[in-house]
Amino acid sequence: MKRLELIGVRAERAEKTVLDGMDATFHGGRLTVVIGPNGAGKSTLLDVAAGLLNPASGRVELDGADIGTLSLRQLAQRRAYLPQSPRVDWAISVERVVALGITARLPAFGGLPEAWKPKIDLALQRLDLLHLRERPATRLSGGELARVMLARATVADPEILIVDEPTAGLDPRHALDAGERLRALARAGCGVVVALHDLDLAARIADDVIAIKDGRIVAQGRADDILNEAVLREVYDVRARVSRDTDGLSIRFLP
């Protein structure tokens, strides 16, 4: 993928306008973080970008082609999506969960084609899951489940990966780890779009930032240009102090 573009998108949920007049561009090989307060429309923006919610007006283009013209299956072969707090309902093994990532490339009947097995091994290895491959996915810790889901989302090498709050419920070590892995994917050429509440992590991993509020874009651009006191104050309605030291950017909100 070269780019994914939202053009004049207005989106509704339950007949209420959640996004309005949204123009945004995501680039391949870059990691874009979407920030904004609760209810700003971050998840809706991600859903529209993922092609899971049709915009009421406007369109979404993947390399210049309207994604509305792609079938669910075609789209699933090119982009991966992880919702907030993903869960597994049956006690299937970790390996099976990861294998579900290639659902859109499987024939309608029959088991897993041999050709995919090395891919699954690779995904498991990349996320340090080899020792867990036979474990039922319902018996994993939060950090392990997050890694399994990431392996699931990346097993088929998507061109674009859209992730909603991957660090929700993770301790600092696992949150940093998840961030690093997303960074690595972007370095490898994947377009990564992440909604995040953790701004320190956002500052650490983002190439680009889109700041939204009340369904509209407040600012978008390179992370260094967006994560400043003026923009943050406008987005969150709280005074913010941004300081930079040898460890990078650190953001503090003041009452």
Partner: protein, 327 residues
């Protein structure tokens, strides 16, 4: 899937089928049975095999299989281990249709009136449930199914209440209990096309059910068309279970229990549960049918009642067990 699971289940099914042909009020030797199968127009004893036990065997397998299959699909679709075909109003719709046929005397006019009316009843209730829940999600589907099912149940009670004579009420009650007694090849011919068509639609859901393990959002992002999946599952259930209920009456619990018995053996993969669950359903109904023929406590115990007596305690165990293991 364990390599021995399907051959094992098929072997058990074959064994029970043989027993089903030989056992009953009149016992046959395997040689008698083979002779009857080779020469269908033989003496009276041979007719017992070809015209009584063989259609009964065919129905037991077909009905049990579609109940087990539908239960497995619905549990996967609704991601709920307590789902079963009756939940969506198929059984009560079929019962209402049958009761209308019995009540207004259509059943007396021609033999197949009861199953035909039952089939129409099943298809109507599930269409209503499907139409009303078109815009909503899974929960709305369950609740609509329960509501439609309740309405059909109310109609049923009303029919019993207003029954013109005790005999009509008795006939309705007997039909509701579910049985394979006195079923002929006509019943098999009526139900088979619907059960096969329904079964085919249900088997198509397997890959989507696997993806649905991750929830509806992720399944959709993996390319699963949820609307199509719901339509396949409900239409398949309506056709298959509708036809099954139409010829045998209400048989509960088979659809609930069968998937649970095989799930650990296929490592909990919802798509892989379907085929073994269908076989287990057939085994349960066939075994229960043989048991009702052999165990005699005065009046004969109806198949549906027998399965309920065994199935209800299992259901209770399941609820307690799930409470322990689910988060």
């Amino acid at each position: 899937m364990s390599r021995w699971l399907l051959p094992g289940l098929l072997a058990v099914l074959a064994l029970l089928s043989a027993v089903s042909l030989l056992a009953g009020t009149v016992w046959f030797t395997p040689a008698d049975a083979l002779a009857a199968l080779r020469n269908p127009h033989g003496d009276l004893l041979q007719l017992v095999i070809t015209e009584v036990r063989l259609p009964r065997l065919a129905l037991a397998i077909l009905v049990g299989a579609i109940l087990g299959l539908s239960g497995a699909v619905l549990q996967g679709l609704l991601r709920n281990p307590l789902a079963e075909p009756g939940l969506l109003g198929v059984s009560s719709g079929a019962s209402l249709g049958a009761v209308i046929a019995l009540y207004y005397g259509f059943a007396a006019a021609f033999t197949l009136a009861t199953p035909l009316f039952a089939l129409v009843g099943a298809l109507s209730t599930i269409s209503v449930a499907l139409l009303l829940s078109r815009t909503g999600g899974t929960l709305s589907l369950i609740l609509t199914g329960v509501a439609v099912s309740t309405i059909a149940g109310a109609g049923l009670s009303l029919a019993l209440n207003l029954a013109p004579n005790p005999y009509a009420a008795y006939e309705i009650m007997t039909w509701l209990m579910g049985s394979l007694n006195d079923r002929s090849w006509d019943h098999v011919l009526l139900a088979t096309p619907f059960i096969l068509a329904g079964g085919f639609l249900l088997f198509l859901t397997a890959p989507a059910l696997d993806a649905l393990t991750l929830g509806e959002r992720q399944a959709e992002s993996l390319g699963v068309d949820l609307k199509r999946l719901r339509l396949l599952a409900l239409l398949g259930t309506a056709l298959g279970v509708g036809a099954a209920t139409a010829v045998t009456g209400t048989i509960l619990f088979v659809g609930l229990i069968s998937p649970h018995l095989v799930r650990p053996l296929v490592r909990h993969q919802p798509g892989a549960v379907l085929l073994p669950s269908a076989l287990v359903g057939a085994i349960i109904v066939l075994a229960a049918d043989i048991a009702t023929r052999l165990l005699r406590f005065g009046p004969d115990v109806k198949l549906g009642v027998f399965i309920s007596v065994i199935g209800a305690p299992f259901f209770l165990w399941l609820v307690l067990h799930l409470r322990k293991t689910s988060p």
